[in-house]
Amino acid sequence: MTFLDYAPAPESTSILRLRDDYGLFIGGEWVAGGGESFASVSPATERPIATFAAADEGDVDAAVGAARTAFERVWGPMSGRDRGKYLFRIARILAERARELAVAESLDNGKPIKETRDADVPLVAQWFFHCAGWADKLDWVGLGASPQPHGVAAQIIPWNFPLLMLSWKVAPALAAGNTVVLKPAETTPLTAMLFADICEQAGLPAGVVNLITGAGETGAALVRHPDVDKVAFTGSTAVGREIAKALAGTEKKLTLELGGKGANIVFDDAPLDQAIEGIVNGIFFNQGQVCCAGSRLLVQENIHDAVMDRLKERMATLRLGDPLDKNTDVGAINSTAQLERITKLVETGIAEGGEAWSAPCELPREGYWFAPTVVTGVEASSTIAREEIFGPVLSVLTFRTPDEAIAKANNTPYGLSAGIWSDKGSRVLAVADKLRAGVVWTNTFNKFDPASPFGGYKESGYGREGGRQGMQAYLKAGK
């Protein structure tokens, strides 16, 4: 054994008190679902974690009804100051139960405990703390005096950051005075169920938060329900488009946070060692299953070879394996369906002339795994330079001048994120100004803050989450 074969350092799952079966959390009660229940498996082992109820149309109706009642009788009339107290209480409980939540998230999603412990769960608590502070200050969100909540918010979240996306949805909605019905993704429902427990622990009035599980049909029934006032969705562009169609012509408000194909632009005067870290973080954080991932590396041609050498050397040090081991850098792919998609897209990339290189790491026999991969020789016309892969695969393109970098970065139907690496402040500002992306990071990547609005241009969606703009999405101007 050499030093770098670090001895196993697994985080214990003994902190979890999971049930075998989870029902639907509606009106403060756990109820059975009308649909056929399903299991969620751990992507790292393929072993089932628990069984979850599937909500049918009747359950959706009950959940929306419970949310409506709570909105009209309790949460809507409540003062902002009192709503804030509940949210602060939830935020504190989230922070207190951080380790348990981190373990549950890693188990259910497959992402490394290092990330759930140091990124996901701390951000979840921060989001609630931030929004709790807004609850009694809504006059300052920019909609004039006494802005009003929409009413019942239907929220559908993805599997890549299950609890974090829940917090991005639930915290601002509740702070603004809405009640919610939220559906987590069918492959990652676990932490939402633990959140139901936290709502109970915080004494949140029944019906303010309703959590229903199920697959696509459940989500479709939820957004179509006539008594829903506001829909918020994070997920694929294809589903987002369906939702937009379904809501066209209704009074419902809609925000969408969809796919991306973020450009990470490295200029030849970049702080090179840090840029390498930023590239790695940009595409291998959460196995690249990040809508704002820096999945297209645009590197200035004169430093392409140097960057590739260093990047590969760095990728070779990534530790792939048990998500619960504290030293794991790269965990499991969330589902077999996602793994197939990634595999197929990389094959297409190679068929179209790309040259793939994967980090030399041993993949466990069980579970869903994909080694960190970089594909060079990718052209702007290549499939893997256009389509979102949503996996640990970096497509590398080159550019010669800042103008070319901007043109290539913007040449995508998406517009969620971008990164710029350069030591020259004036260039950074000039380039950032011309990038058509909702978030532009400079000399860093994948940094999130509840005070900073996040959202996309073009097919990456509309509306913002976080900050003042994020609060506006859950409010309308007062009369």
Binding site: M1, T2, F3, L4, D5, Y6, A7, P8, A9, K114, D118, D269, A270, P271, L272, D273, Q274, E277, G278, T317, K326, N327, D423, N443, T444
Partner: protein, 336 residues
């Protein structure tokens, strides 16, 4: 523990890399053309190494390695022959309760104490061989380095003549901050020359940058590169007399420089953080940083050292805990 110095004759590295016309301008252009450092990113990367979890067998191996990498140090105006004897005794038998405890790489003293250290080490002194404990001496008007070049060189020669296997020199930070890279370069070259023994071998040269006075990471990268070009065998963070002394980000940056130097030339340069590393937990973070930045080849006392005085006792306590399963306490390691 001394490896025959791989270094070429003084200044030869610079001549090979920059060409025969080794002017101040050429040196400046080279150093100022190095990639810049983003402080936030560097510090974040260093912090990420701190979250590695090194347990059980890995921890046991790490603790022994740390001991083997220590330059056990006393650098006080109040140092006496008795104090140096006591330090050497500790190096010879770090933990009387466990004879299997490895010994540190070197004892590090002021130049006038070299003779005493050599005498106290007796047969355990390496005397230039690869086996035994080295004697390292701080030289060149340590720690400020504010003396004439003649004085600095004589300081070095005296220590080498008294038996020093390793010389820890300080660079002229004033000259560096004035932009007078040539002067800094020249002093290192000449000190390297002063490390030459009568038989043509060289005492190992560690070049102390005093990063706490250089302040910016860009300066640290340039000074590291400059020291290597001028013939240093090791680059060392600090004297221990200035705060901040060694930090993990600074050490990471210096490791990146030696990794880049190896990439460019195939030659391996050592790194020594010194000052302020007093716990096993911190020292293990450094080992992780070394291994994940430069590779396991650098987990070797020839290429990585800790300049420390109190670190050894904390490592011994942790080592006893791993062996016996219980914590003892400061009364169960010796104060030297």
């Amino acid at each position: 523990m001394t490896t025959p110095s791989q270094a070429l004759a003084p200044a030869e590295r610079a001549v090979q890399l920059l060409g025969g016309d080794l002017s101040e301008v050429a040196l400046r252009q080279h150093l100022e053309g190095l990639p810049t450092v983003d402080a936030v990113g560097l510090e974040a990367r260093a912090a990420s190494f701190g979250t590695r979890s090194i347990k059980t067998t890995s921890k046991a191996a790490a603790l022994d390695l740390i001991i083997r990498m220590i330059d056990l140090t006393t650098l006080q105006g109040a140092d006496t022959r008795g104090k140096v004897r006591s330090l050497v005794a500790k190096a010879l038998v770090p933990d009387a309760s466990d004879p299997a405890t490895p010994r540190p790489a070197a004892v590090c003293v002021y130049g006038d104490m070299v003779g005493n250290a050599v005498e106290a080490l007796g047969s355990a002194w390496s005397a230039g061989k690869d086996d035994g404990i080295n004697v390292a001496a701080v030289a060149t008007a340590f720690p400020a380095g504010r003396a004439s070049l003649q004085v600095k060189l004589q300081d070095t020669r005296d220590a080498v003549a008294a038996g020093a296997d390793e010389i820890d020199m300080v660079i002229d930070r004033g000259a560096f901050l004035e932009g007078n890279y040539g002067k800094v370069f020249d002093e290192i070259v000449q000190t390297k020359d002063a490390c030459r023994r009568d038989d043509g071998t060289y005492a190992h040269l560690k070049v102390i940058l005093e990063t706490g006075e250089l302040v910016t990471y860009d300066n640290v990268r340039r000074a590291s590169w400059l020291s290597i070009l001028a013939g240093g065998d090791f680059i060392k963070t600090s004297t221990g007399k200035v705060q901040p002394a060694a930090t993990l980000p600074v050490t990471l940056l210096m490791l990146q420089v030696v990794r880049d130097w190896e990439r460019l030339t195939g030659e391996r340069i050592g790194v020594k953080p010194a000052g302020g590393i007093s716990t096993s937990k911190d020292a293990i973070k450094y080992l992780v940083t070394v291994a994940e930045t430069c590779g396991e080849a650098w987990l070797d006392p020839h290429l990585f050292r800790f300049g420390a005085s109190s670190l050894l006792n904390d490592v011994l306590l942790q080592r006893q805990k791993l062996t016996t399963g219980r914590y003892s306490g400061p009364d169960y390691v010796t104060i030297d």
